[in-house]
Symmetry: C2
Subunit: 253 residues, 2 copies
């Protein structure tokens, strides 16, 4: 995502300096010479990088990051800096061509001037920005990412069962199942370590998973008992979510 934002910001006319493990430019030198620093590093090395970069920044600068989680990350940036701070979570992957129509979550940390500039820039380029507290962000991500990935992984593992023939299953796919399989298939393009961090480092993940598991146990019981009236009740309740979901979700190809 670092490379993606380099290209994006260069395209907007900004001068972008890049510091990485293999560049001559060191992170602290970059921090001293840039007004805005965007940290695009794996979550496991994030605190270490922040302790190097954040203290080197000018007080009137702006520090942000691209991590998938925000509570610990924004707190860490605040603790180690005196400049303006906000968290940025681009809700899309580096495979996307442009930012038009893509969601970006912003989490205020310290100051408003730079945050306003940053949100304005992203909006101007067509991003769909939303502002949430780091805690609200991570709580929602437990459902959007952790629970979603949890379900996809369990579904994927289930398809490996010996007693079933995956070819039969795919040849008999309904449109709904085919969509589901396309989502599972996209996991093969993703970074396992990022997915591990999203799942294991979010303190709200267990709550989302427990909630899902509770309904899974309930529905498993309904199926085994052949309890049609309880099934219909649950089905109708989920159907009532339809209009809300359709209002907020776009058909993504």
């Amino acid at each position: 995502m670092g490379k993606w934002f380099d290209k994006f910001l260069s395209g907007c006319g900004f001068t972008v300096l890049v510091s990485d493990v293999d560049t001559e430019l060191k992170a602290t030198d970059l921090a001293e010479s840039c007004q805005v620093v965007i940290l695009a590093v794996p979550m496991d090395v994030f605190p270490e990088v922040v302790t190097q970069v954040a203290p080197a920044m000018a007080e009137n600068g702006f520090l942000t990051d691209l991590c998938s989680l925000k509570e610990k990350q924004v707190a860490c940036m605040l603790e180690n800096s005196k400049c303006e701070v906000a968290g940025t979570h681009p809700l899309f992957g580096p495979g996307e061509k442009g930012i038009e129509g893509k969601r970006v979550a912003l989490c205020p940390g310290r100051g408003h001037k730079w945050l306003k500039w940053w949100q304005g820039l992203l909006d101007e380029q067509g991003a769909l920005t939303t502002i949430f507290s780091p805690e609200e962000h991570d709580r929602a991500m437990a459902w959007v990412q952790a629970l979603n990935h949890f379900i996809l992984l369990c579904l994927g593992k289930s398809l490996e069962e010996e007693e079933i023939n995956i070819r039969h299953i795919l040849e008999l796919a309904t449109p709904s199942f085919e969509r589901q399989m396309n989502i599972v298939a996209r996991l093969c393009l993703q970074d396992p370590k990022l997915y591990a961090a999203i799942q294991l480092d979010n303190p709200h993940s267990p709550k989302a998973i427990e909630t899902f598991s509770r309904y899974a146990m309930e529905l498993e019981g309904i199926v085994k008992r052949g309890d049609i009236s309880s099934f219909l009740k649950m089905f109708n309740e989920v159907q009532q979510l339809g209009p809300t979901l359709l209002r907020h979700c776009r058909e993504t190809g």
Copy 2:
């Protein structure tokens, strides 16, 4: 789906007679005067309709159905008839405009002449037909439909939790989650009784659900223990399914 096939077959140039609860034409009269009979009735009244229709058919006729399950249904048609029999499962809903590119499963019962004709007709119109035994069909459907709907229902119910704000969640949707939500949203267009039958009447459903639940328990443990190496192992295993899934699944808009 009865109306859908009426329109489809009329469009192919056939004379289609329709018997329903509110038509003057009775099912037995229709069975006596048609070479091909397609039963498009809810699964709970299916056996009753078969016992009326099947014995009235000429021995050189063809009896098929459009049920989402096939083992009991094909057996029931065979038991009550002397004509050729095959099961038909159109793997799409009545909202689809045409049959081009849509999957249709065919399950042989008795005879080959009419089945060959039926498959030829569907293929000619662009359908993707596949032939499976009724037992293979229902076993696969436990995963394609029963398990898929099971997951969607539990995910939908999870979103109703008081502690989360569904608006936040949808505003922070990743493309993967947005796709998932679109699948859940489509449930509001479906017939609850059909979904109940697909879930509760397939003897293979519990096995598919148990398999999924076993992995859900395993992964829940991994998350709670923060066991990154087990998570990465599971993630890598699912990633290996990617090429197979991508080869068989089309991007459905």
